[in-house]
Structures are given as structure tokens and as C-alpha cells.
Amino acid sequence: MKYQTQRIALAYIYVALALFAVQVTMGLVLGYIYVDPNFLSEILPFNIGRMLHTNALIVWLLTGFFGAAYFLIPEEAEHEIHSPLLAYVQLAILVAGTAGAVITYLFNLFEGNFLLGKQGREFLEQPTWVKVGIVVAALIFLYNVTMTILKGRKTVISTILLVGLWGLALLFLFAFYNPPNLALDKQYWWNVVHLWVEGVWELIMASILGFLMLKLTGVDREVVEKWLYVIVATALFSGILGTGHHYYWIGMPAYWQWVGSLFSSFEIVPFFGMMAFAFVMVWKGRRDHPNKAALLWSLGCAVLAFFGAGVWGFLHTLHGVNYYTHGTQITAAHGHLAFFGAYVCVNLALFTYAMPVLKGRDPYNQVLIMGSFWLMAGGMLFMTFVLTFAGTLQTHLQRVLGEGYMDVQDQLALFYWMRFGSGFAVVLGAFLFIGATLIPGRREVIEPGPVVRHAAE
């Protein structure tokens, strides 16, 4: 660890991993409710379980991004973080806000109160005081990292990260408007979440991947920067108007069907770019970095993001297709692989790289961490395939033949059992990762095996 303030990242990583555990555990419970619908129905209704599953995901990914920034910005800026105290205050606000939102939601406290109570929305459902807290925390964060970068070296990686994080905070402001009608409610929700995951989060992801490639492969910074520019430009070009693919059926004008279809078709480009980038860097790189597990997670991230976000997204983004598949298990298949491939993997890749550095030791438990990758990635891919088949069947039975929703659900039971099984593998992998990351074992650097040189080289 070159800079003492990089230690701040440790606290963020611990919180992120704790929420990751909550998220996947809730996922497993929900997966079981799909096959045994009355399971925990009195104590933990499905909507609350789902709220915890999706919100814990978003919050831990955000916490991970903040941690990544506190780890990477001192190295990029060659300067200590402006104020470590503020960084810990920021984390405390985020943790208190998260707990406050969950408790308010679970017990429906202060019903009808503008500041303290729920807002009656399906998403963006934090009490107003939590939303204010999130903005305050974001402002503290932006002030802290912007000051650090201003005082230090300015690099393309840290600039793109900063633009992404500023965008993330500004777009959250859409959450403050609670529209009176449902169509607008959905529109504002997508204005936050789509422009996050298919806009500014891609910038954050690209800069973290760029940083990892720089460290792990030793390629020239100029090469990384050129790739990042292209990835970022294509991400914003396609992603912003690509929001239209969420406006198809929520009551917005019909022209959004063409705007959304056209632009979101191109959203595959930046994800293809990131995949090509990662592999070309490894191919060109000369450095044999000892942290092989971080490299596996980085490459896995680029590949799974391309398939989950890019290919599975394109699968149902054209409005002629989406007319039939909207809200079926096809959406669930895409959502799971996209979030896992792009944002879970990029966080875990950074944690895998950062933890040994933060603890001041050689990479440890690499075999376990690589094993956790294959368990999680294998489970998630199996889940994606199963849900895709389930969604195809569901689309045909329900949307083409017109059978009732619950009748169709009954016929999908076999798929839901298989999804539960694959989810179990993912959860196992997640706990393996958390354990192997938090409890360092003996030193474990993987020596390269004997290499046969071929004549073609």
C-alpha cells in the first residue's frame, strides 16, 4: 500500500461484503418462494424479500464503487485522500440511511409522514430523510475525491471515474420527485436506474477495469486511455437515448419505441469494447502479475458483462420482441447475468486485487477465490439459461396462447427448481469468496507451469 489513506477502502469493502451476503441470502429465499409460494409468507412477504434483494444489491455495489474510488484515486493522483475523517463520516451516513430505510419499510413506521415515512412507490422508496442523507453523503464523497484529484496528478482513469461518480450523484436527484401518476413514476425511476446502469456506471466500470488492466498487465497508460475514450463515448452515445427501451409500455408516446429500439441496439458496442479491451491488454501485456485471481475476475467480468448486459439485453430490447417478452422471466434472466457480469464482477475483481495490497501481503487464497469465481459464474450462467428457457415458454403460453398468469407459473415449476439449485451454487460461491477474502490463509502465489514454446511463435 503506497498511500496510508487507501486503508479507507477496507471499511467500505467490509460493509459491501456484508450487504453482498444479505443480498444473495435473500435471493436464495426468494428462489425458494418461487417453488414453495407459502414459505415465510407471514413473516417475510415476497415484496419485502425482493426489496431487500434488489436494494441490498444496489447499495453494496455503490459502497464497493466508493471503496474502489478511495483505493484507486490515491494511486492515480499520487496523493493522499483529502480528508479520511470525511470518508468515514460518509460511510456512517450511508450505513445509517440504509438501516433506516429497511426498518421504515419493514414496520411501516411514520405512515404518511412526508419526511420520515414511506412514499408509496414500488421503487426509489426511501423515506425523504434517507434520500437527503444519500445526497449529503454523495456530496461529501465528491468533495473529498475531487479535492484529492485537484491536488494531485490528473489521469484519464481518475477523470472518467470522477465523471461517472458525479453523474451517479446528480442522476439520483430524479428520486426526489414523487409524481402523482404511475407512468411518470416509472419514467422517473428509469431516469435514475437506467441512466445509472447503462450510462454513468459503465464509466465507473470502464475506469476500474482500466486501472486493473494497467496494474495487472503492465501495458502502456496511453493504450489504456485510448480504449477508455472509445468505450466511454460509445456507452454514452447509445445509453442515454437507449433509456427509451423502458418507455415502450408505460404510457409514453409511441415514438419512443423506435428511439429506444435503435439506440439500445447499440448498447452492446461498449460492452464488446470492454471485452476486447481486457483480452487485448492481457495479450499485449508483459507483466506476469502474481495476483492471478484478480485477473480471472477482471476477464470474467468483461466476458459476462458482454453476454449478460450486451447479448441478453439485445435479445429483448427491440420493441417488436419486447411486446411479447416484457416482464417475463426473460427479463429476470437478463437482469441477473447483466448485474452479476458487469457490476458484481467488477467490484469483486477490484476487492481481489485490493485486499492483499491493503493488508500488505502477497496474494492469498487464490485457488479458493478462483474456485468462487467458477461457482458463482457457473451458477449464474446456468440460472440465466434456465430462466431464458422459462421465459420463452412463458411468453408462448401466456402472451401468444393467452393462458392465465398463474396457470403458466405452475407449468414453469421445473425451471424454478433448477433456478433454485443454480442459485444455491451462486450463494455457496459468494460465501466462499467472502470467507477467502476476509480470512487470509497462508501465502499462496501461483507459479506459472512449464510452457511449451511452439514453432509458430
Binding site: Y229, F237, P253, Y255
Partner: protein, 171 residues
């Protein structure tokens, strides 16, 4: 040919490539939808005013000439004349849209009109952006910034020529 051999900014080429790809996709989709209703599309297309489009083509191509001159000498006059061409184009476009609306040519009236407004409207948005860029660059003209502005302006020009045939003529 290596990627570094491209003149000007790499990002500009990424932008130009992306724009051309999106417009090409939009035109392709419009032509595909036309196949489902050739007669309806022909009737709808007949309601457009081709004279306005002809005038606009002349305006935009001429302004492209000024941009090309500015790119060669980095001069302020060329940039401003190109921007003026863009403003004239927009004035004609507004007159055209107003007359269209009066004739019942609205976005929802026919699928052809949806594409008509989306494609030409999206192009017009680029003309606005191009005018802003040309004027900004003209404040303190430099060789490289004039080149970037001219590249963007030629892309706007190119896209218009690509749109002209399928929107106003073919069918």
C-alpha cells in the same frame, strides 16, 4: 493503415462512425416497415414538400464548402459562414415543419411520419449542435479545433444527403 494515421481526433471518428451507424439503422428500419405498407407510405410521402428539402440541401452543401475552407486555413470567416448556412437550414426546417403540421402531417398520423420526424428532427438537433460548435470554435480559431468542427459539420452534411433520398425521393 493504422488507427493512428487517421487525421484529427480519434474520438471524432468514433462519434462520426456511431452517428452514421444510427442513421443507417434508422433508414433501414424505415425501409423495412415501408415493405409492410408500400401504398400507405407512398401516399404519406406525397404529402411532404420536396422543394423545401431541395433548398435545404443546397444550403447545407454550400455551408459544407465554407467549413472545408475553414479546415484548410483555420479561418474565422469560413467557420461563421458555415454556421450561417446551418442557421438558414434551421429556418427553412422550421417553416417546413410548420407547414407540415398545418397539412395534418403529425408524428402519430402515419408510421412514415413517425420516421420522418424522428430522422429529420434528430438530424436538425445535430445541425443545432454543429452551429454551436462552429460559433464556439470561431471565437478563437485554431487549426485543430477548426478541423474538429469541420469534421462534425461534414458528418451533419453527409447524414442529410443520406436521409434525403429515402425520406423525400424513393418509394
Amino acid at each position: 493503415m493504422r488507427i493512428d494515421d487517421l487525421p484529427g481526433e480519434l474520438l471524432m471518428w468514433v462519434l462520426i462512425g456511431s452517428e452514421v451507424a444510427v442513421f443507417a439503422a434508422g433508414i433501414t428500419v424505415m425501409e423495412a416497415v415501408r415493405l409492410t405498407d408500400p401504398a400507405g407510405f407512398a401516399t404519406a410521402q406525397g404529402m411532404l414538400d420536396g422543394r423545401m428539402a431541395t433548398l435545404n440541401t443546397a444550403l447545407l452543401v454550400t455551408s459544407g464548402l465554407f467549413a472545408a475552407r475553414a479546415e484548410r486555413d483555420g479561418g474565422r470567416a469560413g467557420l461563421l459562414l458555415a454556421a450561417l448556412g446551418g442557421v438558414a437550414f434551421l429556418a427553412v426546417k422550421i417553416a417546413e415543419y410548420t407547414a407540415d403540421a398545418a397539412r395534418g402531417v403529425t408524428m402519430e398520423a402515419h408510421p412514415f411520419f413517425t420516421f420522418y420526424y424522428l430522422l429529420t428532427g434528430f438530424h436538425a438537433a445535430h445541425v443545432i449542435a454543429g452551429v454551436v460548435v462552429l460559433v464556439l470554435v470561431a471565437i478563437r480559431p485554431r487549426r485543430d479545433t477548426a478541423q474538429a468542427a469541420a469534421m462534425f459539420w461534414h458528418m451533419v452534411d453527409l447524414v442529410w444527403v443520406l436521409l434525403l433520398a429515402p425520406v423525400y425521393l424513393l418509394g
